[in-house]
Symmetry: C2
Subunit: 239 residues, 2 copies
Amino acid sequence: MPNPTAAMLVIGDEILSGRTRDSNLHYLSGELTRHGISLCEARVVADDHAAIVAAVRALSSQYDHLFTSGGIGPTHDDITADAIADSFGAPISHRADAMALLGAHYERQGLPFNEARQRMARIPDGAVLIDNPVSIAPGFSLGNTHVMAGVPRIFEAMLASVLPTLTGGAPLLSQSLRVMRGEGDIATDFASLAAEFPTLSMGSYPFTQNGAYGTNLVVRGTDPALVDAAMIKLTRMFG
Amino acid sequence: MPNPTAAMLVIGDEILSGRTRDSNLHYLSGELTRHGISLCEARVVADDHAAIVAAVRALSSQYDHLFTSGGIGPTHDDITADAIADSFGAPISHRADAMALLGAHYERQGLPFNEARQRMARIPDGAVLIDNPVSIAPGFSLGNTHVMAGVPRIFEAMLASVLPTLTGGAPLLSQSLRVMRGEGDIATDFASLAAEFPTLSMGSYPFTQNGAYGTNLVVRGTDPALVDAAMIKLTRMFG
């Protein structure tokens, strides 16, 4: 059975303007690979209601899971929760359990639980809260769409809450061979090896070292015996 | 007149599997911001012909420019040029000027100009070559779509070749104020300031320092006087 599929949607002006370098996509890709979920596509959109809704509808209908990051804080540019609700035609309101969590948190901190902070308790009807051990304000899963914070430490903590609840497949294994030859030298033999193992994915990634060309040859697949067999042939070819 | 719009398409299994962390999106976003082109969306897809074609068609028709990275090397997983040709219904073949460039390069290096390396001279009809001072194999622009390498040093060099040929708008300016208060404390006043300056974009980015909450408040816009005016009010509010 093929592994479940997934997409990621990164939400935030700051990524597209160059202010902030996203790191959540790279983190998510590694975690999903280990969990046996195939990340097939990612998109980045601005804090723009129509753009978020269009992307959420496209990606949540095309893949088994959609993971989003960003736009769930207390300020006016945090519009993700409302956009997600709109994407699925779900009503949204201040939810009692989220209000209770946040109210208790700010009381412990001696900070006012004001209107802005209460915005973080706005959750679409039918969603399941995602635990946030870092800063309490929860994420949520609505259907197959998992809505998480953009701050990397919080994104990573929320993903750790969600991932064990999702059915994964066989982890995608990866082995690589580093050769000090240019891609153009190894391309023909490498292509014939790839053709011999059609269920594996093989990629080559060039690098330079002290002015000399080298290539990392990578073999990926979910069947350990097959990956090993391909690596043995690869090493004989180029090792 | 509003600034020209753009999208980016990152092509490569290695980004979605977690093997490689993309850095070209962050680099492009900064360069476009300086050049007065608004990056509106980015996507990442695998080395998959249908996925590349679908994304290229969607993004090149929706935005003024599309920049792609990845998949133009000599190996079997480098399928971008053919996918771009297909996206626009353009024939593709080994182009004489690209063959000459590459042939001379490998002759200088004393390396065979074999079939794999000749693949890098496959260019869609009607495209304009993009100079590659790093490793010679050219990128190309076909209509509004600029096709560049994935290796960051080469991507950056190709972008430096292309960007001066594109008409930019007013650079997007950005100023920020760092305050040692949580987002929830400043959200209401910050939202009213944002409402006062509807043509500017204002965002807030929380951080923690020694366990205390702080927020970076960012004002972005193309009119320097307006950005300054907003920053003066912002500093009065929170400085």
